[in-house]
Assembly symmetry: C3
């Protein structure tokens, strides 16, 4: 595996899930693969879960880890040619990226959406440049539009907890006080569309995800109807994806508190499990009662981030 951004990068999804299960039972069984190999984790944005879980996964595999925190304000990369670089950009990506590639074997990169320019964000310019110029396998630790380590961990968690062959999974928008990217819902939708589940997305009008990710998922604007008989509720806020109205891209166009997932919401489900990628703001996305209930999977999901990262790094090591 040379890149990990989309579900297709995993190839056969059932094989990948089986590999995740195997690794979860044998985390330290592949250290020969990682011997004398180095993972460079590049963070253009803050990170807690991703930083810790990916580092842990690499160490499980015997891989050396170098963490690079790029202060976006202090180190801006020039991307154009023909520019006289006398401003605040002190290095050109055409030098910076191959140099970083020369000191490692695998690159993980985090680079969030700016949420001001839809075309720029959805073009994934920075990440694609790393793929093109680094000479190394590159995986996403959340980019402008995708967070595949999270979606893989989420699907694996659903596999662990599902009680029917084909569970009903609902991705539900919920209100938030800040504008958040669409990376998590995009990847979750992409993964669910590829998995053997009955998948429904529910959100207020205007929050339609990009068709590239929403695919053929059923869209249900009535949250109660969507939750009916659901086995898993995946709550998440996202800002306006700008599909129906590009001028609204990145904005908060709805903050209706009735979308907050509480015990009444969960009562509409088939004794469903509650999921969220974390961090979560209680009282906005979900109530204390729901997230603390014995049907909340937020901690197991987070713990499985170590597993999804280990599968990805293992496969990249195998491809070297």
């Amino acid at each position: 595996m040379k890149t990990f951004f989309n579900v297709e990068d995993l190839g056969n999804l059932n094989d990948a899930l089986a590999e995740a299960k195997e690794i979860k039972n044998n985390r330290f069984g592949y250290q020969e693969l990682g011997k004398n190999k180095t993972l460079l984790m590049i963070f253009f944005n803050n990170s807690l879960r991703t930083r810790l879980s990916t580092q842990k996964a690499a160490m499980n595999l015997g891989v050396n880890v170098i963490v690079l925190d790029v202060n976006a304000g202090a180190w801006k990369l020039e991307t154009e040619r023909g520019v006289i670089m006398d401003g605040d950009k002190s290095e050109h990506l055409l030098e910076a990226i191959p140099v970083m590639g020369s000191y490692c074997d695998i690159i993980g990169i985090r680079s969030f959406a700016g949420l001001s320019d839809r075309d720029y964000d959805y073009a994934e310019t920075i990440v694609n440049q790393f793929v093109k110029y680094s000479g190394r396998p590159v995986f996403a630790m959340e980019t402008s539009t995708v967070h595949p380590l999270q979606a893989f961990a989420d699907l694996f968690t659903i596999e662990e907890y599902k009680q029917t062959t084909r569970p009903k999974v609902v991705l539900s928008w919920a209100p938030h006080c800040k504008s958040l990217p669409q990376a998590v819902p995009n990847s979750f939708a992409q993964w669910m569309n590829a998995a053997d589940v009955d998948f429904v997305i529910t959100h207020p009008e205007g929050y339609e995800l990009d068709p590239k990710f929403a695919g053929n998922a059923k869209i249900e604007y009535n949250q109660k109807k969507a939750f009916d008989n659901a086995d898993f509720i995946y709550a998440k806020n996202w800002s306006c994806p700008g599909v129906t109205n590009p001028a609204d891209y990145g904005k908060i166009i709805n903050s209706d508190p009735s979308w907050t997932v509480d015990t009444e919401h969960m009562s509409w489900t088939n004794n469903g499990y509650f999921m969220h990628c974390l961090p979560v703001r209680r009282g906005l996305i979900v109530t204390d009662d729901v997230i603390e209930s014995d049907h909340s999977l937020v901690i197991p999901e987070a713990a499985n981030r170590e597993i999804s990262a280990e599968v990805v790094i293992k496969r990249m090591l195998e491809s070297l």
Copy 2:
């Protein structure tokens, strides 16, 4: 050992000191214990000595180390239930702590006193939440009220240098230009009370340490009398503990320069050794002559931080 905050956590103190001595002579002898184990060091505050010595100790034991610097301003944890989290706190501790616990085997935590709310500081809320919710052994890398790795290293240093069976040890307050926590003197007092030494605390009136830590130590307000015939002088500043006057908690209520330890002060002792936990401000706590003398133990004390940390991590590994 599942927690390390107080001297009681070590069990028999002589056994712990013997173990420290053994480890100092065989630092790399226990790497099988640490294989495939991970220490997560969480810093809510800056650190130099603790960061380096604890990391070194863990690596001596073959333990993988992940260092997490939490910018307290950027990542505030909500601790209450029933709150709508629409302010500056983006995550609830009930999610954050078990997630961090899921990526490691042992947690070290640094979280200083705020010095504005005595009850909050002395309740050790943050640290206790890590003990309760992380599911991992937790040790203090200096908390609001204790710094046991320092006190353990200090006692071990006294053991190495003492020339009588039961030396006289004096903890002496000294002036400082900033309000400092009581963590170091609290732990030092606790350790000395548990050790086989003649222990005296000297400070201006109003600086009485919390009885939980001062215990039955002799308090002597006359510094010269306290120093008389002392074998070890442990100088340290601390702000008002607020025992006699809670309104003064965390304040500087005395800055008398006559308490600065100089050669005259040391002449009152039994050719005593000078100790301090570092960093130390010269000219306030101690003069150049005293700290640079051949009876200054500040560097050996600091070097022994590696040893105290290694004993603690080794014992926690043995408990897994």
Copy 3:
């Protein structure tokens, strides 16, 4: 090897180059040397290439690495005696340095020139204090006046690409929008003077390097004459070294764009290679066409930083 600041520290230069070649082909062949050894990398300034390449080199050798980023604003070291430390300096170097030394086996240090006080910068006070008080081998990761890991990598790159026994190498000043230190050109000049090359330095009048580094190199103020028949062009900006006019130390006294290396400049050479230590500002130092040409060595130079660091750390390990 106990220090690495100047070319003389390497001893026989041909032996060092042969060792670099051997290590490049066998990066992981010396891990027994590094077992249970710790490198402490201390950064008083930002770093990308040096941070990554030195860390990679140490890990190649099986060495544990601790990275310490010192925020110069937050942790100022007092260097004088007899001072009452009631200001912003919270620790004296006479404590801080031996303590840091006690937790590691080798120290790498980065501490840039302030460019305001020539005597202070060229005295290398901070670095010399680490040599004197740390008790450990110390190497430069760029100091006020030298950057030997870069110069060693540069010479090794020239060895790899040279097509004549004694190539002509030109160090050329080029304009820049910020005041930059002289560390890179100083070390490059020192290394070239020691190597078997025909070495010329070209720059506008007033930019003369300190004689300690320029040595007997030929100085040619006419850039075109300097470039004539050159095999390697090493472009670099530096601020005024203050040799001819001390009052100009650290200032930009020329910004003539005709010194920017473009294809016409390169046409004057013997089909020469272009070199630069990176990061480089395009349009000021060099044009896109030149740096992207197949005769640009900027990426191989950077990759060889791993090799120069590994030779240095290996030799220091051998000296322990």
